[in-house]
Amino acid sequence: MLGALLWPAAASATPQDLFGFGGRTPGLAMTGASFACDYEAVFANPAGLACAERRALYLGFGAGGYHLEIDGHRHPIDHARGMTLGFQLPVPFGGPLRERIVLGGGFFTPSEVVLRGEVNFPEVPQFTVLDRAQIVAVQLGVGVDLYGLVDGLKLGVGVSALADLVGDLFIRLNEENEFSSQVETQLVTSFAPVVGARYERGDFAVGAVWRGELTSYMTLDIVTADLPVDIPPLMLGGLVHYDPHTFVLEGSWRPSDGWLLVAHGTLRLWNEFPGGQQRTTMSSTLAPAPDFSTVVSPRVAVERTVHDGPLRIQMRGGYAFEPTPAPPARMAPQREPTGAAGAEVPFRILDNDRHVLTAGLGLAYRVDDDVRVTFDLYGQAHWLAPREHTIPSSSARTDRMDTSGFILAGGWVAGVEL
């Protein structure tokens, strides 16, 4: 299964980067670096695992529906549906390690297309940043509480895992004078580190996270021999998944009992995105450079908690602004093997600024002293600000192209804490 879980998927980034991970933080505008204290912390901030007190197992379901438009016509993107799995495991050491180390894991497995690697021709309209929910996400982390050393400080490290698919194909004439081939493909794990820290003092908490660049390539090298005509070595595939370096800084405040206010900023270094395509042969041209930009996403969230006996109720809301890193679709030069600019071709990587409103509801019920069950529900509305591009869509007769749309996402997660 892990092989499947780690397989690369559509062009870029991970579903948790788009919608958040878990059942609580997606309703809080994808925040959590300063307050998530359970399995969700493996993504939000692994340092948060350190404050998990109970072992727990979580299972949930999430879905996202796309309505993206090009010139007023709907552009098809598969809806995202998938299962969320999570666990946290305080390691019951004694002595100096007592209540200090917590392991956690989080998995998101799409229910239809687990993995998708896609490399398109440059002129094909493609929502490179948004069409990225068809991917399995695997995250593991460990949090350490430094109480006694620096009270209130927690550190965490983790990994996000994907895989490179590396293939070699050798074609020749076989012993019976038929075309014959031998192929070997391997999934090789690639990891991106996640490092986080959190400091809590009184009603305030600050969290900081760095997520390393995560790339996944799907490549197939083809070599031929003994054929009537020489074929150059072919290199098919390309970069099918890309998470940029991401820096998160977040602060939260509990002004009074039952309230949580969160302010959050995410910096993504999309400017280092090299583009998905690779040269088919050494002498072939390469698609234009994507020329993405670094972007900062500001987010705010609020959570209200009330108690009624063994029942705890939480109501959540948030807003996030996700600026697009992509320039407008345009005519752009292909890249020649020499590095020089080649002929200009239509280059239709599409993306829009997004305004994201989120809401959520959390229920927790204490069955007895040992067992508590939880249920979290969230919903998100992503509105894509209309954008004008400088070239037409492939089928239009105008000299420009407009993109817009919205995304609706929601889900639930149920858990058992022991």
Binding site: M1, L2, G3, A4, L5, W7, R55, L57, L85, F87, L89, V91, P92, F93, G94, G95, L97, V113, V114, L115, R116, G117, E118, V119, F121, V124, G167, L169, I171, N174, E175, F179, S180, S181, Q182, V183, E184, T185, Q186, L187, V188, T189, M218, L220, I222, T224, L227, V229, I231, P232, L234, L236, G237, T280, T281, M282, S283, V371, V416, L418
Partner: protein, 450 residues
């Protein structure tokens, strides 16, 4: 344009992968179970219950975290020539998390085998090329399974869960120009590729019956999975470099191939475990493996070619008259019954320390028929001898209120010689003899928290 046809035909077999399964099906999971010949369906209780019998997850009430490492070295021969079977080595890990709803005990378990060279490997060989069907590529896959176990009655343990694999489908499109005179320096090709893996889940379920401390029985079912791979390839290219006065001819090719080539049969194991006296445990079991349901690792393909070569170039470019579609040939495997025995003896048993010695044996008859035709799925019977030892440290407080086990195992697989004689005297590969041996060893550490 024959060259490009070849190219895309080759792409068409990218997706098909060979019979694949996890390493533990061949080499075991965890040192204790492997040392006992895998005959632990009736008494497994550690993390390896995620593979051997998920009911065993709830047999003990400790929180268990385990990690280990295993490796193999194959010494396989065909016609006395080393087949260069790649070794398998990787990490095994898992945990068992117990809990209780009222009076009902339950446990959640997760087990993984992760090869350390790669997550997985698939390998497609030419249709008739000889290959060790079960050892060449089969163990090079990762295993991950999650289970839940309940103990509704004190003597009854049940468990079940799912393991995961994936189904592959790929589409490929090529366009541009292929230079006839200088293919490496002047060809301008572009490609578009979409590769999908879809989830395939298969079940595992088991029961353990524990009437008393001396006897237990186990029954486990592992579901079948078969992975199909679907690939479509389409190419449209100009053939350039044929001369200044030649209009580059077009070549169009469409290929579709489907193969059911990764297969693990359903299987059912029944085992018993007895403890005739305190320090000795004897296990025996038998496994039915439904290999007769195996189709073949060789897929089907269809090819359409349209090419319009000018008559004056017919001597320069050879266009095949037709490309034959291929259809799979049934493997005609037989079901397999696998007997296993295992023993564990506590050489030292004190409140703080325990030292165990283990041994086991299993026999796998080959399900593969004699390869008298064109195809060459090589396999032989397999005798497996195993030895192991383990220590349990119990005086670890205050750091650990529980125990730490360290287990080691060594496994020797003997594959006696099998002779294949071809019906055809002009067969490309001819008659051959196959035999070999495989050595495997591993270490496992598990910490249990009371």
């Amino acid at each position: 344009m024959r060259a490009l046809v070849v190219l895309v035909c080759g792409c068409a077999v990218l997706a098909p992968v060979r019979v694949a399964a996890q390493a533990m099906e061949t080499f075991g999971m965890g040192s204790r179970a492997t040392a006992m010949g895998g005959a632990v369906t009736a008494d497994v209780r550690d993390f390896s219950a995620n593979f051997y019998n998920p009911a065993g997850l709830v047999r003990s009430d400790e929180l268990r975290i385990a990690i280990g490492y295993m490796g193999t070295a194959a010494d396989m021969y065909v016609n006395d020539v080393d087949s260069s079977i790649d070794s398998v080595h990787g990490i095994v890990a898992g945990f068992v998390v117990p809990g209780a709803f009222g009076d009902v005990e339950f446990a959640f378990g997760l087990g993984v085998h992760l090869n350390d060279e790669r997550v997985s490997r698939s390998r497609t060989l030419p249709r008739t090329q000889p290959r060790w069907e079960f050892y060449d590529n089969r163990p090079h896959r990762t295993f991950l399974a999650a289970h839940l176990a309940l103990r509704p009655l004190d003597w009854l343990l049940v468990g079940g869960g799912i393991a995961f694999q994936s189904i592959s489908s790929t589409t490929l499109e090529l366009r541009g120009s292929l230079d006839f005179a200088n293919p490496a320096g002047r060809s301008r090709l572009e490609h578009d590729l979409v590769g999908n893996l879809e989830t395939l889940r298969y079940p595992q379920a088991g029961v353990q019956i524990v009437p008393n401390d001396r006897v237990s029985f186990g029954l486990v079912y592992r579901g079948e999975y078969r992975l199909s791979n679907d690939l479509g390839a389409e190419g449209l290219a100009d053939v350039t470099g044929l001369g200044p006065d030649v209009v580059p001819p077009d070549v169009y090719v469409l290929i579709h191939t489907v193969s059911v080539n990764s297969f693990s049969p359903q299987q059912l194991s029944f085992g018993a475990s007895v403890t005739p006296f305190d320090r000795l445990t004897l296990n025996a079991e038998v496994t039915w493996v439904d290999w007769s349901d195996y189709e073949t690792s060789i897929g089907a393909s269809d090819v359409i070619l349209t090419v319009d070569i000018p008559p004056e170039l017919s001597d320069l470019i050879s266009v095949p008259d037709s490309i034959n579609s291929t259809r799979p040939i049934q493997a005609k495997f037989r079901d397999r019954w696998v007997p296993r025995i295992g023993a564990e003896l506590a050489l030292v048993d004190t409140p703080a320390f325990e030292l165990d010695a283990r041994a086991g044996y299993l026999f796998e008859s080959t399900p593969a028929p004699a390869q008298t035709g064109r195809y060459n799925l090589i396999d032989t019977d397999r005798h497996v001898l195993s030895l192991g030892a383990g220590v349990i440290l119990r005086d670890l407080e205050p750091t650990v209120d529980g125990f730490l086990t360290l287990d080691a195992h060594f496994q020797w697989s003997i594959l006696p010689e099998r002779v294949m004689s071809k019906d055809s005297l002009v067969d490309t590969y001819g008659d051959y003899r196959a035999h070999g041996q495989i050595f495997a060893a591993g270490l496992t550490a598990e910490v249990g928290f009371e």
